[in-house]
């Protein structure tokens, strides 16, 4: 079993002439909870979306559990895109939770959670339904299994989204600012679930603005700005004793906004 | 199979005799319909209940009946009532009545699309409702409204073909006349189709230029 769950090596991405990721490299061990913070435009969300190839990257390598994601090198050393089937298979091993939940509105919470296992893991429907109920119970929504997304609050929808990702039994999970679109009083219920996941040893990459959460529960934090990793280390150290001026300025702005 | 395109040079001039009639019907129809639509939408949005109801009924009737039937109604009805109108006038009237109703709906949608919030921002600045309409809502609504109106214009050009049935000598009428006399029907209607494609292309192109100058699209 490889020591690193996720390996990111020299990943660069351009939007036309604009370089949004500048040769990013970092590794994540199994069970590690990594938080990525930074101002908007820093590339943190783009990096996250490259991990499961929802966004393409032009240079570099990403490995999930040792296997190359999205692109391999052929015999001549040229970059070759893997087949859509292989990419889909690897995506199934990663769970992703989105800022705007993206629940399927025409399906109940239960069906949302069970769709992946039924179609991708080929779990028999009855078993998938049972597992889905268990997942919903795990995020505290056992009684909402038959509710439609339109009937749920933002916090509940996001928890269903987490259950949907968990149902695929992922080896790692990706969180894209999952509390940014929630009313403040609904944020806690989602962070609670995430805290449990960290404590259960899930490998997680979390892009977030929730500094207190990051300080309390993350194992490592990365500060990105203008497409680069500017500083990284233990969250406590990063937040209390920022070394770089850019991080200091970023955190100052947070304190000015009464968020820290 | 080699196609001899020389028929175009023979057929086109004959059809072209109807071209000016088509254009003389389409353009006034568009302008009058656009103007009539303003009147109708004022009725639709009026605060007087009866006026709004009449406008609504008019729009619903016109939208749910075919233009052809409306043309027949006016053409034959006018003669019976003692004030016969030419096929051209009947066609023009029907086109204006029908497309004026559609224009009114387009205007209504355009006004609605300028959100409540923008209007409220205007009111909050201290502008009177009338000035808010003139300064905030109208300019934005006009921009919103031009693309759908351009679409309607294309439909009007195509609907002018219907007046051929009430003996108006436009494009389609000439084509039919020719087709009744010769066997070259494929060539005739192919050429006719080209004429309409050209008309709608020129019109759409013009509208797109307008949209770009007004910085809409």
């Amino acid at each position: 079993m490889p020591a690193n769950e996720i390996e990111i090596r020299g990943v660069s991405k351009w939007y036309g002439d604009h370089q949004v990721l500048k040769s990013i490299s970092t590794d994540m061990k199994r069970g590690e909870a990594l938080v990525v913070i930074g101002p908007s435009g820093s590339g943190k969300t783009t990096l996250l979306r490259c991990i499961n190839l929802l966004d393409d990257f032009q240079e570099g390598e990403i490995r999930i559990g040792g296997e190359a994601m999205g692109y391999t090198l052929d015999a001549a050393g040229k970059r070759v895109r893997r087949s859509e089937t292989e990419i889909a298979r690897m995506r199934a091993k990663l769970g992703m939770v989105f800022q705007s939940f993206n629940l399927f509105p025409h399906m109940s919470a239960l069906k949302n959670v069970a769709l992946g296992p039924i179609r991708v893991l080929h779990t028999p429907p009855k078993e998938a339904a049972e597992q889905a109920r268990a997942m919903l119970a795990r995020v505290g929504l056992a009684d909402k299994a038959d509710a439609m997304p339109g009937q749920l609050s933002g916090g509940q929808q996001q928890r269903v989204a987490i259950a949907r990702a968990l149902a695929m039994k992922p080896t790692a999970m990706l969180f894209d600012e999952v509390t940014s679109a929630l009313d403040p009083e609904l944020v806690a219920e989602v962070l609670d679930v995430m805290r449990q996941l960290v404590q259960e040893g899930m490998t997680m990459v979390i892009v977030t603005h929730e500094m207190s959460f990051a300080q309390a529960f993350a194992h490592r934090a990365i500060f990105m700005a203008a497409g680069e990793i500017v500083e990284q280390g233990e969250p406590a150290a990063l937040f209390q004793d920022p070394q770089s001026r850019r991080l200091q300025a970023f955190l100052d702005r947070f304190k000015q906004g009464y968020k820290l | 199979m080699s196609i001899d395109f020389s028929f175009l040079t023979r057929v086109a001039p004959i059809l072209a005799e109807g071209l000016s009639t088509t254009i003389w019907l389409a353009l006034p129809a568009m302008l009058l319909a656009a103007l009539w639509g303003v009147v109708v939408v004022m009725g639709l949005l009026s605060r007087s209940r009866p006026l709004a109801a009449i406008s609504r009924s008019y729009v619903e009737v016109v939208r749910n009946t075919p233009v052809l039937v409306q043309m027949f109604f006016i053409f034959f009805g006018s003669g019976y009532a003692g004030y016969p109108v030419s096929g051209f006038v009947a066609g023009l009237l029907a086109l204006v009545l029908q497309n004026g109703a559609y224009a009114a709906e387009i205007y209504r949608g355009g006004i609605r699309a300028v959100t409540q919030r923008l209007a409220e921002a205007g009111l909050a600045l201290g502008l009177t409702p009338r000035r808010v309409f003139r300064i905030v809502v109208l300019p934005l609504a006009v921009r919103k409204v031009i693309p759908p109106l351009a679409n309607q214009g294309v439909l009007i050009i195509k609907d002018t073909s219907l007046v051929a049935t009430i003996s108006v000598a436009e494009l389609t009428f000439h084509a039919r006349l020719l087709a009744d006399r010769t066997a070259a029907v494929f060539e005739i209607f192919f050429t006719l189709a080209l004429f309409y494609l050209a008309l709608t292309a020129v019109f759409s192109g013009g509208m797109r230029l307008l949209e770009r100058r007004l910085r809409i699209a």
Binding site: N52, L54, E84, T85, A88, R89, R91, A92, G95, F98, S100, N102, F104, P105, H106, L115, G116, R119, V120, M148, P149, G150, Q151, A161, R164, A165, M168 | E60, V61, R63, N64, T65, P66, V67, L68, V69, F72, F73, F76, G77, G79, Y80, V154, K158, D159, S161, L162, T172, R176, A179, V185, F186, I188, F189, L192, A193, Y196, L197, T200, A201
Partner: protein, 214 residues
Amino acid sequence: MDLLLHSLPLLARGTITTVYLSAAAVVLATVLGIVLALLQLYGGIVLRALVEVYLYVVRGVPLLVLLFAMYYALPYANVRIEPVTGGILVIGIYFGAFMTEVFRAAVLSVPKGQWEAARAVGLTTPWILRDVVLAQAVRMAGPPFINTCVMVVKGTSLVAIIGLADVTYVGKQIVERTLAPFEIFGAVALVYFVICFALSRVGRYLEGRVNYAS
């Protein structure tokens, strides 16, 4: 008024023809619309180009011209088909272009986030369409679909010009004989109004159901 009563049986038979033409043309147009929309969205370059040409031609040529073309060409064609069938074919193919646009817009209006969430779970395009996108697209397509159906019904009136005995043709015949345009064409208009208005009501109801509350 007497005349109206006398004309009812004829008008009724014309109405049946109108309804039949409309229904058949709608079915044809819908099938065409779905197939061509999918081709336009997911087909290869050649297929996409063909669909674009078809759409461009139909959008720029009047329905009447197409009907005339069929009407005059029919005697020369080797294929013998009933005029009614010909009318259905032309009207169906004409409005098939409108339907293509309706379905294409509906699929495209499904939010990108739905695609991303489905991909993130490991689903591939055909499955995403089947389980996630099409169900939502169909709901969004309801109102414009109904609008196009209303256009089809109104469009069938043009077959009167090529001698098919729909309600407009029957009406014109009666008026030419009896010179009572207001009553007869009024009745014809009423027939169309009832059909189209009823369809629009269905469309209005569907519009309300685009939300997924339950």
